[in-house]
Amino acid sequence: MWLTVEHVTRFSYDGSINEAYTELRLKPAHRDGQRCSSFVIATEPRGVSVAEYLDRFGNAVHHFDILESHQTLGVTARSEVWTPDQFEDDEASPSLLDRWDLLRPSRYVPLGGAIADLAAEVEAPGPLLGTAQAVMAAVRDRMTYETGSTHVRTVADEALSAGHGVCQDFAHVMIGVCRLHGIPSRYVSGYLFDPGATGDGNSASHAWVDVWVPDRGWVSLDPTHDREQTARYVRVGVGRDYADVPPTRGVYKGKGREELEVAVRIREP
């Protein structure tokens, strides 16, 4: 289906800052059956030249710097994207080393503590895809979705021990447990469109999980909703965990207190 996404990020400071370097991972992916037909970035202050490169995971990264002093930094990204009915893996098989990377603990996904306990409880019924689905169900079972219960730096085992979190935490927990079962798993950053949503619906980014199973390749699973990726999912980027694909990341010089505002809107055109 066709979807348009508008993602507005705005940093305001109560004092002047300078030398701000910002990196964006906001461009919808143009692979795995998904087609990004347009992508435009507007910055504030204006007149900034934005450069692009592909990172280690094949994600498009845009970056720019603002050296002169400023008090607000805004980024508006608008994209139009066509999503397939289901995830269509068109990537080359990950190499042995790539798979190894996706089995190791990462910054948000340590493989001990509560994650190890849950991994021991999930039965591995045979084929790895079945295991991954069982893990997804277990995560959905263990954790309740609660906005504001965690923050952006919460790591997987903290969220699991607390028993609640947001989709970022669900994804991290599922990745951890899958990795312990020997399934290479990666974090997917993107958006989810809910046609029936009203009010605050369709106004946030989303995160879910890709698992790699022999014979099938990548399979995309959403532990927050306990289902496979559908046409309503817009993929932006992948990585070992959130730290590899944050929508925005940057540094600046200055003492001003920072305030972050994010507004996302996903619509059918």
């Binding site: 940093f11 300078n18 730096r153 970022q168 929508p247």
Partner: protein, 326 residues
């Protein structure tokens, strides 16, 4: 050249000079006090703290004023931003950030100075400070000498010279302001008077230079003239400020604020008078000079290191946005 680079060069030189000046002050005080009555010694040490301008901070950390507490404060105390150990560390940090601008010899000199100060046995120093002071002064001189001898005399060098000369001018003014009124307040025939005047000259490394020109009569007014208005003694205020003006002129040809302020100060010193030599008149003159030198430093900062207005240093991380579906 980036303003950040210019600023680091300038501060490297300032901090090295500062460490050297402070060391000399301490050394001279130790020696002078060997001749002084014991009851005068506390006052003499207090004078050092006042001269360096950190008296308030000092009293927050120490209740009494003794040779040991003042040396500790001036050399090592981590709450004293102008302690020698902190000056040398900052000088090295600044030099390190512009390592590609300075010569290898300069870097080695400043690194050795840093290792000397960092590795010093503080208890041994407090028992017999003289050898340590000498090594430290030699290290600072080596840095300044290698800067002159091994670095291209372009803009980076001029910023080093500017930092050094402004720091030196300010220190000479402070030293005269602190010691001169004390000396002239004493009776003409009081042996302490000559002792104080010699200490004043030695604090500025000016004893030999003065005796060669004026003999050993130690007239206070002649001493003040020499330390303030001499055009050729390298620690005289006028000479330091002329060098600063020269450095500024080489850095940029437009007559900006640093030019104007330094030019006016130099002209005043060249054509003005030190006054009648009384302690009170001198204090007034020196106060005006110090204000002028401070203004020159501010003007240099504003003209060349505009980034100074922004808090220097650490990069802050932008806040990250959590991914949470509605």
């Amino acid at each position: 050249m980036l303003s950040r680079v210019a600023e680091s060069l300038y501060w490297t030189a300032r901090y090295v000079e500062r460490a050297e000046d402070i060391t000399r002050l301490l050394d001279v005080n130790f020696h002078t006090l060997l001749d002084a009555p014991v009851e005068d010694r506390g006052q003499a040490w207090l004078q050092i703290v006042q001269l360096l301008g950190d008296e308030e901070l000092y009293t927050e950390h120490f209740d009494e004023v003794t040779a040991v507490s003042v040396s500790d404060w001036v050399l090592w105390h981590d709450k004293n931003p102008n302690a020698v150990v902190n000056c040398v560390t900052l000088a090295r940090e600044n030099a390190r950030s512009v390592r590609e601008q300075i010569s290898g010899e300069m870097w080695e000199a400043i690194n050795n100075l840093f290792l000397l100060v960092r590795g010093a046995n503080r208890r041994a120093v407090s028992r017999g400070p003289s050898a340590f002071f000498e090594e430290l002064r030699n290290g600072a001189h080596l840095f300044q000498g290698t800067a002159d001898a091994t670095m291209t005399h372009g803009d980076p060098y001029e910023f080093i010279r500017l930092g050094l000369q402004l720091e030196r001018a300010a220190k000479t003014v402070r030293i005269v302001a602190s010691r001169y009124p004390v000396a002239v307040a004493l009776d003409d025939d009081d042996p302490a008077r000559v002792r104080q005047l010699i200490a004043l000259l030695e604090s500025c490394s000016a004893f030999e230079a003065f005796v060669k020109r004026h003999g050993t009569l130690f007239e206070p007014i002649a001493i003040a003239e020499e330390l303030i208005r001499s055009p050729d003694f390298p620690r005289a205020v006028r000479s330091c400020l002329s060098s600063s003006l020269d450095a500024v002129s080489r850095i940029s040809s437009d007559q900006g604020a640093p030019h104007r302020i330094l030019g006016r100060l130099v002209a005043d010193l060249e054509y003005g008078e030190v006054g009648d030599g009384s302690g009170r008149a001198m204090t007034q003159t020196l106060h005006e000079l110090l204000v002028g030198i401070h203004a020159a430093g501010e003007a240099v900062t504003k003209a060349y290191f505009s980034s100074r207005a922004i808090p220097a240093g650490a990069l802050a991380m932008q806040e990250a946005q959590q991914q949470q579906c509605g």
